[in-house]
């Protein structure tokens, strides 16, 4: 009998160790409890800011669709072509030619990136609500500013997004209906930010109460609440810390990051490893030259034409497309070409890379050699400039994970010139033409007085003529002038498509654009379907509806 005990003993030894044995820790993980403190709030808040670059975990859509600079919405507008060959990123070709369906991965990619941001902000709001003995009002205001930003983007793009509250987040109830616009919720977040953010921040990447006011103004503007918009934007203009830079181009260079003109910027950064904080979503948007890739996001002839001026230095509001700026489309780099000699707005050559003009410090643009498409494709012969880092700006030259560009150039979600133009627009709508004229001319005078792009001999690279308006002859003319100025000043900055939509002019403008563009790019028209009114808001992604179990409903028209 005693012997038996020996043999049985090991069994009891095993029984004794079971309680601890079946409790295993999650090594390296932060539990919810570990984040219920100041450090946790900071960590999660930084995580919410990190979603501003569009790069979130587990995004099932297109990886290039996520960039906060909304470059591919310019492709849908009259400002840009997709670039490269038609078959490259064919899903975007289908967007550009208005042949897209709700399952297009660009539509899903952007949607998921923005909801990732909304809920990272919700995570901060939720954790703050769980900590009772400390005041986190400023942090909460930052989180709500961010949620307002992401929701504004969703509202602007998708028209009828679902609103996910902090309570929804806490209860893991992410499938919410999308019965209509969520402007009320956006305004509430922005109002809270206006009231609770400080006037200055130690780090330029964080919003101040002035930032919040400018964004609230934009929210009013999008709802056509002209008086509210004008009041708060004028407050920002008159009392805020912002002003125009002397140099237009400073908004797109390393040296000009976070200048007085920057109201709110996505803080992109490059390093020599993998630049996780670079603008990975705009990786493709570099010329096909200098070791770069991939020739995407190229300006249209229509946009270039818009930069023509009359002898009076004013834009050709009504007939800019009657005449085309000289284009090297279909002309090889070794064939002769003379660039446009007629009068041009000097901002053109800080916005568009044209053959024969100096390109961001890399020398004279040789034309088709640097362009990545063939004559059968529809992308024309121009190159983007604002999103391409300038020669020598190593600090912005990052590397993405497949060995391509991950640029570190900040993207200005809102520049002060945008604030001026929004205020001008509201002023025109309120029939205050003088104020509008003043704001528009501030912008035109800056352009007039800046340093122009130079030829190799130091002279201006083209026949630049730009002058302020003397007056606006009528509210109609004023509105046209303000809208035109916005296109010129903010071209290739991701705003145009949404402006066309909210101005209710997308169908006529884009129809004219397709016709105009086809005059120089003959394949463009035949490959493009008619633009339809319902396309001004994007469809709810098919995968979003599928995964919601049918709770989300599709936008009209799709």
């Amino acid at each position: 009998m005693k012997k038996i005990i020996y043999y049985i003993l090991p069994f009891f030894a095993l029984i004794a160790c079971t309680e601890d044995f079946t409790n295993t820790p999650a090594v390296g993980a932060l539990s919810d409890q570990a984040l219920q403190n100041e450090q946790g709030v900071d960590l999660l808040l930084t995580g919410a800011y990190s979603a501003l670059d569009g790069i979130v975990n587990n995004n099932g859509g297109n990886g290039f669709a996520v960039s906060p600079d909304n470059w591919w919405f310019d492709v849908l507008s009259d400002d840009a072509h997709k670039g490269s060959t038609d078959g490259d990123q064919q899903e975007l070709f289908l967007m550009e030619t208005y042949a897209f369906t709700p399952s297009n991965p660009y539509i899903l990619g952007k949607w998921e990136a923005l909801y990732g941001g909304v809920n990272r902000a919700n995570a901060v709001i939720s954790v703050i609500e769980g900590i009772e003995d400390r005041d986190f009002t400023e942090k909460l205001a930052e989180a709500r500013f961010l949620r307002g930003y992401f929701n504004f983007e969703l509202q602007k793009i998708y028209g009828n997004p679902a609103f996910i509250s902090a309570e929804n987040y806490a209860n893991t109830e992410f499938n919410q209906p999308n019965p209509g616009p969520i402007w009320t919720e956006i305004e509430a977040d922005q109002q809270f930010a206006v009231e609770n953010l400080p006037e200055t921040q130690p780090e330029p990447g964080r919003p101040t109460s002035w930032t919040a006011k400018a964004f609230l103004g934009k929210t009013y503007l999008f709802q056509k609440k002209w008086a509210e918009a004008f009041a708060i934007l004028q407050d920002v203009i008159n009392n805020g810390p912002y002003g125009l830079n002397e140099e237009f181009v400073a908004n797109f260079t390393a040296g000009g990051e976070n200048s007085q003109e920057s109201v709110f910027a996505i803080q992109f950064a490059a390093d020599d490893g993998l630049s996780f904080n670079g603008n990975v979503g705009s990786t493709l948007n570099f010329p096909n030259a200098l070791g770069w890739c991939c020739g995407f996001y190229v300006p249209t002839q229509d946009l270039v034409d818009a930069f023509q001026t009359g002898p009076d230095g004013l834009p050709l509001l009504d007939n800019y497309s009657n005449n085309h700026v000289e284009s090297d489309y279909g002309i090889a780099s070794d064939e002769p070409f003379t660039p446009e000699t007629g009068p041009l707005d000097p901002r053109l050559d800080y916005t568009v890379g044209r053959r024969g003009i100096e390109y961001n410090g890399y020398g004279i643009n040789p034309g088709s050699e640097w362009v990545r498409n063939t004559p059968a494709d529809i992308s024309g012969s121009y190159l983007p400039k604002k999103n391409v880092y300038h020669a020598g700006e190593e600090v912005n030259m990052g590397t993405a994970d497949w060995g391509q560009q991950s640029p570190g150039i900040n993207y200005n979600v809102m520049r002060f010139s945008d604030v001026l133009l929004m205020a001008a627009e509201a002023a025109v709508e309120l029939e205050d033409l003088d104020t509008a004229l003043g704001y528009v001319n501030m912008i035109r005078n800056r352009a007039k007085n800046m340093t122009y792009v130079q030829a190799e001999d130091g002279s201006p690279a083209a026949n630049y003529i730009i002058e302020p308006y003397d007056s606006f002859s009528s509210p109609e003319m004023a509105l046209k002038a303000v809208r035109f100025e916005k296109r010129l000043e903010l071209a290739m900055e991701g705003h145009r498509y949404f402006d066309l939509g909210r101005w209710d002019i997308a169908v006529p403008v884009l129809t004219d654009y397709v016709n105009n563009e086809t005059e120089t790019i003959p394949n463009f028209g035949p490959k493009t379907s008619p633009f339809q009114q319902y396309m001004t808001i994007m469809p709810i992604p098919t995968t979003a509806i599928d995964l919601s179990g049918g709770i989300l409903t599709q936008n009209p028209g799709y």
Partner: protein, 1062 residues
Amino acid sequence: MDMKITTNHIGFSPGKNRYLHIGVIIFSLFLFFGPAETQAFNSFEDMQQTISGRVTDQNGLPLPAVNIYVKGTSIGTQTDFDGNYSLDAAPGQTLIYSFIGYATLEIVVGDQEELDVVLVEDASKLDEVIVMGYTTQTRADVTGSVSSVDVSEATKAPIVNAAEALQGRVTGVTVMSDGQPGSSPVVRIRGFGTSNNNNPLYIIDGVQTDDPSILNSLNANDIEQMNVLKDGAAAIYGARASNGVVIITTKGGGYNMQGPTVAVDSYYGVARASNLPDLLNAQQHGEMIFQSLRNDGADVTHAQYGNGPNPVVPDMLDVPADVTVPAGGTNWLEEIFRDAPTYSASVSLQNGNEFGKYLMSVNYLKREGIQLETGYQRGTTRLNSEFKIREKLKIGEHINISFSNTRSGNQINNALRSSPLLPARDDNGNYTGTYTAAAGLGNAENPVAVLNRSSDNFNKSFRVFGDVYAALEVLEHFNVKTSISADIQYYNGRFFTALNPNHSEPRSTNTLTEQDAQNYQWVWTNTVNYGNNFGEHSINAVAGIEALSQSGKGKGFSRNGYLFEDPDFYLLSNGSGAPIVSYAYDGTSTLYSVFGTANYNYFGKYYLTATVRRDKSSRFLGENQSDVFPSFSAGWVISEENFFPKDGYVNRLKLKASWGALGNQTLPADNPTINISNLNNQFANYAFNGGGTATTGAILSQVGNPNLRWETSITKNIGMNLGMFDDRLDATLEFYEITTEDLITRDNSLISTTAIDAQAPLVNLGSIKNTGFDFSLGYQNRTTSEFTYGANLNISHYKNEVTELISEFQTGNTGFRGGAITRTSVGQPLSYFYGKEVLGIFTSEAEVSAAADQGFATPADGVGRFQYADVDNNGVINDDDRTNIGNPHPDFTYGLNLTAGYKGFDVSAFFQGSQGNDIYNYQKVFTDFPLFFDGNRSTRVLDSYSVDNPNATLPGLSATIRNSETNPNSYFVEDGSYLRLKNLQIGYNFAETVVERLMVQDLRIYVQGTNLFTITGYDGLDPEIGSFDSLTLGVDGNVAGGGLYQAYPVSRIFTLGVNIKI
């Protein structure tokens, strides 16, 4: 049939019940035995005499531990080490001699006092002892559903992974193997019982794992037995068993061998790709491009084919390099495939005396991949030994050490879409690329260059697994055993991504990535075994306690900017960019279990088995941590009944039934119940100053589910075994139903697209039911003539139905272009294909106008395009018109093995196939549509719609995708049925005279062909495809985002081999 002895640890003599209460204290199971009483047959008592003798084998060697008992009584004994025995019996009584691996012998006692007996090695399958986990049973005694692989047949084929031996060889088991050398096949037992982890549990000697890659570390020549537990019989493994259990035991030498035997097995062969799809040649490619542009109304011009009325294949390409166009163009599939050598050599050595036995083996295997620079090589060594210390203690071990290197790579997708104008190298010997987009050569990276540039990459794995054990006969009938097993794996990978200068999307920097992982697992098992015989009652019971711990730790580093692209320079310290920690993890999970099983049989006619196991898992919380898994089974050998005709064709008929509860707690997460946030430099940091050092942030990375509990499967099985013509014909038929509740999977609907960007929680999703049958039929000719032959057929069928879901439906992987292809909903099988139904191709504007609105700008635009079915009948085609368009589950799968022998020759042929399953051929998105316009296409596009070809299979050619034709639709769904000649082998055994002259025992040479032909209507590379995940079955193709699954075709292998025994 007579009573069989169920394990070799059991003695035979009347029970001594006084020890039973100890067992009762520890394990309630032992209660089963309490009432058992000894029954003696008294009538012979007065005539008894003592009989003694010696038991030997055919070679005259003594057999120790042979069980001998008097039939119908509880009187019995065992032989000693010299094979001697003595016991009391009366004339007229029958003595039964049984020993594992030998035919049981019955001798009627006459008046002799000395009875020497020779036992013959047993050829009968019924007496084969099969390892059931913690116990063993003879086949005749099994009441659960257990299939065994004919290992000697199965390992004839040149297999790399032992799981390949299961394919088509056992009923109820589906094996899908990828052709990539070193990859692990997907093994499914009786359908898809779960949506989470469908891997069966593998038991290799004492090592338990659900990691199928362990089978890559095992030398198939070492396998002695491979058994599959498919029903409640698996319940002894409780919470890990719901996907079935594969039990593998390895050879271990034998006691009392005459001397060492050495076996040498070696083969050499060549593998090549088969069934490659036809792609367009250069002229056809040019015509395809021109016709597409013409159809689009665009300018018909191309950088290489010119702008004349017809495309002209140039002699030299118009690119910034000297590139001569090969005559007819390049067939890129031929460029990436090669004839690949395959080689294996094994040597094993075994011996044993009365105190110990051992086996030692070594194997080297090299399987070059049929794609350039891919391949697998492995060295393994094994040592199994066991020692008897005094009479009652056995101590032994199994140890398996393997080292392998996998060079993986799959460039089929690039090969399919590379331009046929490009050769692999230019006239100066440099790799070509697509140069510039303007060159019109597409943007597929040169697949030959990619494969060659990755030739110095490796995935090295060093793995040691095995166990040590001690078994002691504490008292008569009581054995205790303790064993500790371990599985230790060290993985080390290196990947260099070189610059690709001629590619039209060149990399700006090169990158070295290094990855390592260490996985540890140990299991400590303690069992008590009780076996006894009470007259015609026989009992065998095991109870035990087991603790298991597994942990994994690993990391990945990468660095950019290497000055030299030379493998001698590939160290992380030589990069010039900032080092990047790609990932790091460290996790542990544990399981603690108590279990018992008891087998009872009466008179060799009636069998009962009861099993119970309680598991406690670290993966769950509170009450969900533990559960109890019972199972019961019963058998009735009708042919042993008196009423059963003894002289009919049927010599054996057995009915059996079982019921059991099984669990599954294997999850892709160690702590799935809690929310986990992480610091994350890729996703969570932010540079608040627009540059410089980014501020550290945290994000939620996993949403926890505190209510998570494991899956439970209830299995019911009824079946029969039939033996006819003296067991020459053997048939088994089993019907089963498996209901799996609380299916675990990630709930992508909960963490949907409007959610936080964390991984979706694992949830108990719903229930699934699999019903089916397994049928096998074998015929072996046993005549002594020189001609022998045999056939084995098995057929398996299952029907899979989702019976309950927490949401209306679940969507499969959404990473495909056009969204998810599969959907799962109640009343349907798991993961059916979901998309639009293609009715045909519009051939006139009138047809377009009459049909539902598909969004064409004009009716003319619709001519030549797919017509989709208006499923919701609302006159508009949109996402609501998607429907069930196919089922990835087969009607049945089957295998047929034919063998024949004449004199020294032997032939075996093995066919295997699947019938009635659909495959979603996602590769056609790339090969049949202009996703990459300048790339190549399948010759199927020659049958595209045009006015002259209105009955085409493909819509009209275009430079771009029209009418959403690459989105999920029924064009891509194909019948995936196939029949494959998996293996054909012809061998010759040299005659004894030759063999003796060569001083060897046996010498056999053989030639064989593997995958010689496949009959299938499937258009893809290979109808044997793996699954991306359990909600995305049957999709053949490249998944964008979230991983890559792409078929690597199986290879046709010709081998020449030799088996030598010394």
